[in-house]
Each structure stands twice: as structure tokens, then as C-alpha cells.
Amino acid sequence: MPPPEKKKYPCKMLTLQTWTVQALFVFLSTESLGELLDPCGYINPESPVVQLGSNFTAVCVLKEKCMDYFHVNANYIFWKTNHVTIPHEQYTVINRTASSVTFRDISLLNIQLTCNIRTFGQIDQNVYGIRIISGLPPEKPKNLSCIVKEGEKMTCQWDPGRETYLETNFTLKSEWATEKFDDCKTKRDNPTSCTVDYSPVYFVNIEVWVEAENALGKVASDHINFDPIDKVKPFPPHNLSVSNSEELSSILKLTWINSSIKSFMKLKYDIQYRTKDASTWSQIPPEDTASTRSSFTVQDLKPFTEYVFRIRCMKEDGKGFWSDWSAEESGITYEDRPSKAPSFWYKMEPSHTHGCRPVQLIWKTLPRFEANGKILDYEVTLKRWKSPLQNYTVNDTKLTVNLTNDRYIATLTARNLVGKSDASVLTIPAYDFQAARPVTDLKAFPKDNMLWVEWTAPNESINKYILEWCVLSDKSPCVPDWQQEDGNVHRTYLRGNLAESKCYLITVTPVYDSGPGSPQSIKAYLKQAPPSKGPTVRTKKVGKNEAVLEWDQLPVDVQNGFIRNYTIFYKTNIGNETAVNVDSSHTEYTLSSLTSDTLYMVRMAAYTDEGGMDGPEFTFTTPKFAQGEIEAIVVPVCLAFLLTTLLGVLFCFNKRDLIKKHIWPNVPDPSKSHIAQWSPHTPPRHNFNSKDQIYSDGNFTDVSVVEIEANDKKPFPEDPKSLDLFKKEKISTEGHSSGIGGSSCMSSSRPSISSSDENESAQNTSSTVQYSTVVHSGYRHQVPSVQVFSRSESTQPLLDSEERPEELQLVDNVDGSDVILPRQQYFKQNCSQHETSPDVSQFERSKQVSSVNDEDFVRLKQQQISDHISQSYGSGQMKMFQEVSAADAFGPGTEGQVERFETVGMEAVIDEGMPKSYLPQTVRRGGYMPQ
């Protein structure tokens, strides 16, 4: 195998070279570092540990080589602690090379001390540094004690004393007289106790002590010497069992197994027991369990009761420690006959037939401590006078029987495995029995979280009392619970599951030999609470300065206690809240001194003994006026108005002739007109070719003038200017014409000078006579400028002149070229308020009246037009009203009217050229005078 060896040697050589290089490097480095790190001096002591509060002196010694190099000596030394120079007063120059520093009463735990020199007069050179550790020597450990837990090794603990601020070791030492055991070193995290490594040997005294040691000293505790058997904490007895005895219902036998420590020492025991539901333990007398044993019989227990036991043990002489408690074990004593008769009561069923009454007998199950076993059944007997016994065996706790109206005596016994209880006797009185003799001074009050009932017994022998109670609620019926008390009891508490904040109605009934007495009732709470909700307040009546508030009593389910009082809180938006207390018996309250016309916010709280609860807030506003105040103002005003009106009416009635004269002037009856008499000679045709002709002739015989005072309030203008305005006014109201106006549309090409008021007046009278009077001739002192046309739609017979078609044709045939169409157009134009029908053109057209007409044809057309007008009268009237309204409302219409006014103005200008005295001066104003 040559090749491998060849390879092996080079490897060895390489390794050797490497080691050589490394060793050389380390040697050189060490030499260099040694020189580099060689200090200029040193401090003695090197690692001092100083006791707090003591003095300490450190000496710095400089090396000669360093002194020569830096040209310094001990005088150049200065000291620093934690980088702060120490005052030179603390220095002492011992010799040329050494200087010391002294600290008095050291209080710092850790001090860094350095020795320094100042070289070349300005460079501070650190020579050496040490760290001074301060602390205290250990105190003597106290209260050393040891315990030997069975199965474990001995553990000792002690009080280490004050804090030393130094690492302190505690060592537990132990030895026999002939043997020394290994030390027990404490662990860093638990320096106050230690568990030895060897098992204990009983009956040999051992000496134990603790040594505490740190850098400042060593101290040992007092030595304790004891037999480890006296420090034993044994295991608890195990396998504890409990058994009962059929012979004795009051005993239970306990058995257990002792721990193995029993072979070393005698034991004593501690046995405790309690009933299963109890929380406190009873103890067997220690003297009964002071010796080693493995069983014990507990006596004087209750029958058929479950008991729980536990046991522990310790050294008989009391030295050492109690063991832990054993596991709990329970057992039930054997049964015994029931020790008490059950509580017994009855309830009368509501349905009662003649001679028979159903009665429900009720009783309570015996509590466990009185039943003394499992109740198998109940035996009930009923006995009536000289009648055989009726026996019932019941498993339930109630029995309903039908009894006669006679008196009965019922007995009840409870039976268990061992025997029967005593009998509970109850007298059921006859049907007509009148109960009396109630208890007095019945009180109910809570105490110790129980509801107590107290009463004063009647001065008679009482067998027992029956207490019944139920929860009062608006939602559920009163389902009573009950309990029985002995006859000598006058105070007890209700043994039921009572709830807090519930109202209980408690009834106490004494039971005599002859039967039950009168029941007495009282309400009570186990514990009150504030109401669940507050009362809802509302206003019953709100006045200017007061408001009557009302509310409903809180339902009992939300009261949670007795309502002691109410508090009403009210305020305005900006005012402070005002509170008013109201007694709980009230359901309304009047708030007074309120401000009128003000919003009030009101809420209400109900209070029990435990607090209150606010109800919802309610707002109301007081009125500005009190009730009747408006009436007091309005009624007199109305009366005054009525009186004034009445006086006016009376005045008018008295002055009716005068009023009528001014408002409703007498209208001449055309039928009674004498015009036919004075105008038959009037030519049928008014051919006014020119004004000049008319005025020049001065003949007004053809003109029928009806003077109507359209409006009393509008006096006639006296001057042309006023007249002009008057015309304008009339023109502007042209569209308002209706009824008569409508007729005028049909009957005249000229606008009718009649206002709507006039139309109304006319309509008011149309039931009797409808007139359409077109005054186009001279009015009052004016001279008509155009041909006058007059027509009446009166139902009265037409005048002869009106009957003549020629006269109509005189107008209709103005436009001779077109006989029929112009008439229709005119009608349409006039009904549509055509603005382009100036009077002038009308006037001009009237000049061109053709003399050739077909009379028959005209009549036919006139009849058709008349029919058409009568059919379209209403619509035409409405149409005109609408247009006028629009004209009043909008500018353009007004402008159109203005244009027309101008035209009329021109006409007025033309009129100005006429003589002003064209009317007879004798014509009476407002009157009618035939010419």
C-alpha cells in the first residue's frame, strides 16, 4: 500500500507547518500584547468587596519604567470614580511611587475606581482600574424548620435575613452524632429552602443548621436537633368508605386504610362530616380518634340523610404535621318513620251543586329531614258525623272529594318504608259555616332576604295557621302557594321561591277546632326596586295660566314596590325645571302660574322606597287667550255690528222712498208708455245722414231718451273732459256687459254704456222686465252723435215701432252689399270684443245704408239670429267675462283699450264742436221727460 503512505506524510508535514506558524504567531502576539497591555501601575486591592458604610482605601503603585518614561511620580496620580475626579483631599502620597485614596462610609453598591496620571502636563493617562463591590455580610438565618413528607426527603426552610446585595450562598448542613451528611446547597431561585439528598432515618436525632456565606462573611443559624419522625407529614388515609346500618338509622361506619407510616409511629385522626347540602363541617371529638385505627362509627346522625366525610391523620403525640385531607366520601343513613305529620289544607272548588260541594284536599311533601325516608304514599280519611270512614290512598299531594254540606274531619298520614307519620287533622266546616275570629295586626316585612309575616293571635286556642301567598300581576292570575305553621307561632317567613320586585298578597288564616277563621291579607315585597317605567302624564285641560295633568296608576307589574309619591317636572324651553311632589293616591294635578302662549315640557317620575323612574316627556302649549276671552271680544263686536246694521236697515226702511229714488229709480213701463201715442207719426226710418242735419233741425222728436243714473257714486261729469273719462270708463267696462249687455251686443253696433253693476241691477230686475236700453243718443246734456237704436227684450209686447222690420233693417242694411253676412259678422265681432270696430267706421258704414232690402229675408235672418243668441247667450257672456278679466290682467288688452279710448276721444273731440245746449233744459236730472 505505498501510494496511501505517500499521501499521508505530506499531510502530516503540512499540519506540522501549520501548527508551527500558529504557535509562532501566538507567541509573537502575546509578547506584543504583553508589552502593549502592560499597565503603568496597579491598584491594591485588585477586586475589593467592601461593606456598606465602611471605609475603604486603595493604593495605586506606579512602575519605575513607566515613571521614567513619562517623567512622573506619585504626585502625578489622580483618582476617578465612575469617571469623576476625586478631590485631592482624599489622596495620600505614600512614597514616590504610591498614592492612596480613602473613601469613607461607602454607600454605593458598585464603584468603578481608576488610577490616572497626567503626563507631559496635559495628557491624562489611565494607569489602572478596579471595581469596588459593596454589600453587607449575611445575617444569621432564622426560623429554621424542617418537614419530612412521607415518601419524600427532608426539606428545610429558613428566613435568610436582610438583603446583602452580594451573592450569598446558603448551605443546609445536617449530621448525626456519628455521621455527617452531604451539604444541601440552595438553588439560586430559591435560597430559603433546601431538600436533602438522603432519605430520612426515623428515631435518630439529626442536627441541622444553615450556613450563609458571601464575600463579606459567613454565618450559621442556630442548630436544631430533632428526630425526623417528629417532622413527618404523613399521607392521608385512603380508601375511605361509608356504610350504614339497618338496625340504626342514626349511624354511619367509616373505614379507611392508613398510610405505611403507621409502622413507624402511632397516628391520631381528624374526622369531619357534613350533610350533603351543608357547607360547614362538623368534627368528631378529637379524643375519640386519638389512637391508630382504621375505622370509626359516627353516631347521632339524622335518618335517611346523606353525609359527607373526610379524614386526616398525624403523629399521635401531635408532633409533626397533619396530613392532607383524604378524598371525600358520602353515605346515607338508613330510613326511619316520618317524624312529623304533613301540612294539610283544603280548597273549596267553585262549582257547588245542591247538597254537594267539591273540596280539594292539599298537603305538602315532607322535607327530607322529616320524611326520614322515601314517602311511598299518603293515607287520607274523611269522617262525617256518625258516618263510616272514607279512606283514600294517594300518591299525589292533593285529593278532590265531593262532600255534602255537613262538617267533615279529614286526617292525613305519610308512609315510608319503615312506618307512618303522625296524623294531620283538619276540620272542614259545614257549608253554612261562618268564619270569624281573624288574626290581628298582620304585618309583612323583608328581613335577611326573607319575607317575614307577623300577626297577633286571637285569644283562643288555635290549632295551626295557614299562610297563603301569590304574586299580584296584571298579566297572570294569582296562583297561591301556602304553608302551615303551628298554633303557637305568630311570626314566620314565607318558605317559597320568592322573587324580588314582585308584589305578594299574603293571607293568614287561623285554624280552630271548629274550622278555619276569617283570613286576613296584606301586600308585601321581598325587596323593592325602582319602577320599571314611569307614569305617562298627559293634559286633561290646558288653560292660559294653568294646566290640569292626569295620569294612570302604574300597573302592578312595573311598580316593583309601593309607589310612595310622584314628582312632576315641568319647564319651558328656556326656564329652569320645576318639580312638584304629588301624593301617590292622586291621578291628576293642576299646574298653576303658567305663562300663556308658552311651550311646556312635563314629565313625571314615580318613586318607591328604592328609587324612582321617569316617564316619557310630554309637551303642551298654553293658549294665548283664556277660554271665553275671544268670545268676550267677538260677541260684543258682532252685536255692535248687528245693531249698526239693524239701525241702518231701519233707517233705510224709513227712508226707502229716498233711497229708492236714488238707487232704484222708477222705470217706466213701456206698455204704459205713451210714446206710441206721441210717436206714431214718426217716420219709420231715421235717416240721419249727417249730424248737421240733426242738430240743425233741432228736432228731437225721433229720439227716445231714457235717463238712467247708472251709479250714484259716479256723478256725471260736467265738463267734456270728465265726460271723456267717463266714456273711457264705460268703454273699459264694455266687456262686462252681460244679460242686458248681451242683448246690446246683439241689438246694437255701439257699445253699451252699462257697467256690470248695472247689469247686476238689471238682472235683478230681469225676472220681471228685462231691459236693454242703449243710450246712444245724447245723455243728459249731450247730443248723440250717431244713430240711436233702442231695443227691449222685455217679455212685454213690443212696441209697434220695434215690431217693424224696417227699423231693424235700417241698421242691418248699413252694408248694402252684403245683407246677411255683415249682420252675422257684426254679432260675432261684438261678442268677441273685436277691437278693430271703431265707432267711426261704424259711423261711416251707417252712412252707406242701402235702401233696397228684402224684408222677408231679413225677418227670417233676424229670427235666426235671435234664436242663435238665445242659445249662445250663456257662453257668450262667460266668454266676454273671461276676456275682460284677461284684459284687466294684462297690458296688451289695456293698450287696446287705450287705442279705443283715443278713438272715443276723437269722437269726444268731435262732440266738442257741437253746441252744449242741445238738450232741453227742462229735462229733470235722472228723470224722464218726453219731448
Partner: protein, 237 residues
């Protein structure tokens, strides 16, 4: 205890106890009655055959009919009870101390052969404890005024036989030895019990241990007062 004490230390202790030269490290505490009570408890603990013999026979398969009968104490190994009663207190303590030393030696051998029997270790620790109490009780005995007595209780006592080469015989010898040991401790217990009897009866005896112990203790009190009880090295005078 074996686990805690090195074998070399144990051997040293055994040898020293054998020759009543214990390694005295601490002091004795308690009076004679306390020591006697402790010794009584220790001996009662040791006389119980369930501590050693029964486990040994069970492990060695000797607890079967036919073999069990052969496990009888070999005469001469342990002193008889009447011989023990005849001994002076010092002689009794010396004899007891010596026999316990033999037992320790034998138990050590048995323990090496039967390492699973942990009761050997427990018994050995208690034997050390008994010898500690013997030492302390001897401290309370009168010193030089007592007459030296033989350390062996009678001539019938003989040292334990050497271990037999035969396996079965070796088991049987071990069994016989342990039976003798339990019987011996029972006898020792009776002696201690007598020592603890009423003083009136004790006074009638020449060597009433109680009286003697109390007397010795009384004598020692002046020298002990205020200082630690110093060991004397051995009980015998």
C-alpha cells in the same frame, strides 16, 4: 444511604463501628429516655421479619413449604435473650453494636447479590441509626467507674459462618442469618423494654440501665454544661 455515601466511607464507618470507634462529627442530644425510646422503636422496626427475611425468602424462592422449615436460625450466631439480660448495660451496648456491625457486613454482601431488594438499603440505614443511638446512649453511661465487661454475650456466640460455596446452601445460610437477626432484635427489644420499665423495678437491679444512665448523665452534666458534648471514642471501659 449507599447511594449517598461512597463505598469507601461506608467501609470505614463499618470498621470503626465494629471496633466502637465511630467517626464522631456531631453531638448527641436528648436524654436517656429519649434514646431508649428511639432504640425501642428502631428495634421494633427491625424485629419485623417483613423488613428482611420475607422479601429475601420470596426472592430466593424459599417461601415454599418444605424449604421454609429449613430456614431456621443457626445457633451461636446471635446471642440468646437471657444472655443479653445478663450483660451489663455497657456490655449489652457493646454486644449489640458488634452484632450490628456483623449484620451490616453480611447485608452488604447480600445486597451485592440481590441488588433488587431495596429493603436491604433501608435496613442498613436504620442499623446505622441504631448504632448512632447506641453511641449516644453510651455517652451517658458512667465512665471509668464501670467495670469492664466482655463484649460478647456468652461463649455460645460465634462469628457468622463464611459464605457457603453451594448456591442453595448460600441462600439457606442467608435465610438463617436473617431469621436469627430478627430474633436477635426481638430479644434486644425486650431488653430495652425492661430498661424502660418503672424506676422502682429498675432500682432493684444491679445494673439498672435507666438508673445508671441517669446517674451517668448526672455526672456528666458539669463537664457538659456550656459546651459541646465531646465524643469519647468508645463505650467500653
Amino acid at each position: 444511604m449507599r447511594a449517598q455515601l461512597p463505598r469507601r466511607v461506608l467501609l470505614s464507618l463499618v470498621l470503626r463501628l465494629l471496633f466502637l470507634k465511630p467517626v464522631v462529627t456531631g453531638s448527641c442530644s436528648g436524654d436517656d429516655q429519649e434514646l431508649l425510646r428511639q432504640l425501642q422503636h428502631q428495634v421494633d422496626f427491625m424485629k419485623d421479619s417483613s423488613r428482611l427475611l420475607d422479601p429475601y425468602m420470596h426472592i430466593q424462592g424459599l417461601d415454599v413449604p418444605g424449604l421454609k422449615e429449613h430456614c431456621q436460625e443457626r445457633p451461636g450466631v446471635f446471642p440468646r435473650e437471657n444472655a443479653l439480660h445478663e450483660l451489663s448495660r455497657r456490655g449489652f451496648l457493646q454486644t449489640l453494636n458488634a452484632k450490628l456491625g456483623h449484620v451490616l457486613h453480611r447485608l452488604t454482601i447480600l445486597q451485592q447479590n440481590l441488588p433488587k431488594v431495596q429493603d436491604f438499603g433501608t435496613v442498613k440505614r436504620y442499623i446505622y441509626g441504631i448504632r448512632n443511638n447506641i453511641y449516644c446512649l453510651a455517652q451517658l453511661l458512667p465512665g471509668s467507674s464501670e467495670t469492664a465487661e466482655p463484649t460478647q454475650a456468652g461463649t455460645e456466640d460465634s462469628p457468622p459462618p463464611p459464605p457457603a460455596s453451594d448456591t442453595f446452601q448460600s441462600k439457606l445460610q442467608g435465610c438463617q442469618f436473617l431469621r436469627g437477626y430478627h430474633r436477635f432484635m426481638h430479644s434486644v427489644g425486650r431488653v430495652f423494654h425492661k430498661w424502660r420499665e418503672s424506676p422502682s423495678r429498675s432500682r432493684s437491679r444491679r445494673h439498672s440501665p435507666h438508673r445508671a444512665l441517669r446517674k451517668g448523665a448526672h455526672r456528666m452534666q458539669p463537664s457538659m454544661r456550656g459546651k459541646r458534648l465531646m465524643p469519647r471514642g468508645q463505650l467500653s471501659q
